[in-house]
Amino acid sequence: MIEIRGLHKRFGDKPVLGGVDLTIPDGEALVIAGRSGCGKTVLLKSVIGLIRPDRGSIRIDGEDITVMGRKDLYRVRMKFGMLFQGAALFDSMTVEENVGLPLREHTRMPWPAIRRKVEEKLELVGLPGIGATKPAELSGGMRKRVGLARALMRDPSIILYDEPTTGLDPLTSVKINDLIAEMNDRLRITSIAVTHDMLSAFKIGKRIAMLHEGRVAFDGSVREFRRSADPMVRRFLEYQRDGI
């Protein structure tokens, strides 16, 4: 379970998060929506401890990561997988080395065994047999799927997705959405996804939280979100429709 309480973060004199409260039970599929620049990525990165908030607490299964030292933080991070907006594959390594890195670094498993597991994960994301290629040779959609395979490598119980479908063609988006929904349905992995794309949000989310002016302005099920009469939500949905 993830409990975020009173989270504040500012950069210089620019407030970004101004008291975010959010509770995410195990197995939840949460989508975080909101305008560009409203702090969605900052919130996501705070949850995995990449950004230290100025104030407030983030408890992961009861442990507050905002006051943790590096060692404990790394231990808690072993529960997480994260898919970055640009996939963030290591471009000096092959796909295989990328996906296998978490096991190579954290276990004593021999490389052939790691390779077998890598191939398994690559198959899961629909990219079997590309282990030997370099990230630079892949398309944007393929990179994201490799990034997902890497995030899944340690069988995390929580996955964070930062705009998993932005910049992808509709067909690839559908594939990625299905994959994300499946992770949650089949493996009971808690998923938190940041997205602009409402189609994607409705497909992968069971619950939607909307950030507005540094706070959670809406928090409810997908159904409630679509039917909400809240002018702010309506405006966001209309703006989305126009945007597409």
């Binding site: 990165k45 401890g49 997480f80 640009g86 963030a88 594959l89 670094e105």
Partner: protein, 261 residues
């Protein structure tokens, strides 16, 4: 805006010390990972090969001509100071001491700061701006251990080796000029080198080399980690790494000279 000059100077001074603090902190983090060197031996070897291969051609050219010009210049400066016959007697010794203590370590250091320091900053800078360093963090892999430790180790370890290489090439360059252009015979040149050879000079030169190499790698890593602002930020980081490490080498050279010699 009443004291613009003092303000900018003050700002620069504060900036300099803040910078110094950042690099000292990074140094502290790097040397806290002694076991990391062993665990990272594959990564470290990669970096060693890279530093060697990357810089060898330029170091070769630099060394030949540094040796050559030192011989030529020394013979010119001796004119009128030493009687004609003695010039050739002392040429080897004079040139050799300058190469061992000063020229080879410093110039190899500058080459390394332009090749290796800048390329480390470019590589880590682009990893920073494309979130690859964040990705390492999320995989619970310490970027300092994974990226900085191997580069730092390779830097201080490889530099002395490159400088020894540079010593040989530079002496060869000096000898060619002495032999072909200044009429100094081979035995005369090398006897003179040998007679006035002090092991202390070589050790001092190699200590300098290790400091320059480690410092350059560390500066490259620090600047790369701190990069932001996309591709433009990476370009800036590259230049900054070169400027800072070149300045570091020149200042450290003076400081070490006063301590070692």
């Amino acid at each position: 805006m009443r004291f613009p000059v003092s303000r900018t100077v003050g700002g620069k001074v504060i900036g300099f010390f803040r910078e110094l603090g950042v690099f000292s902190m990074l140094l502290g983090q790097v040397i806290r990972h002694p076991a990391g060197v062993f665990r990272n031996r594959r990564l470290t070897t990669e970096q060693m090969v890279r530093i060697g291969v990357e810089s060898l051609p330029l170091i070769t050219v630099m060394s030949v001509f540094t040796g050559a010009v030192s011989a030529w210049q020394a013979s010119y400066q001796f004119q009128g100071i030493l009687p004609g016959a003695t010039t050739t007697d002392f040429l080897g010794a004079a040139v050799s001491a300058a190469l061992l203590i000063e020229l080879c370590p410093v110039l190899t250091g500058i080459v390394i700061s332009g090749r290796t320091g800048a390329s480390i900053a470019a590589e880590l800078g682009s990893m920073r701006v494309t979130e690859q360093i964040d990705a390492l963090e999320t995989l619970a892999i310490d970027p300092v251990r994974f990226l900085a430790v191997p580069r730092f180790t390779a830097g201080w370890f490889m530099m002395p080796i490159l400088v020894v290489y540079s010593y040989w090439i530079a002496h060869f360059g000096a000898f060619i000029v002495a032999f072909l252009m200044l009429d100094v015979s081979g035995p005369k040149f090398f006897n003179s080198v040998q007679e006035h050879f002090h092991l202390q000079n070589v050790i001092g030169g190699l200590v300098k080399a290790a400091v320059f190499g480690g410092g350059t790698a560390l500066i490259g890593c620090g600047v790369g980690f701190a990069a932001d602002g996309g591709a433009e930020g990476v370009g800036k980081a590259t230049i900054r790494a070169f400027v800072l490490s070149a300045a570091f080498i020149l200042i450290a050279d003076f400081v070490l000279a006063t301590i070692l010699f």
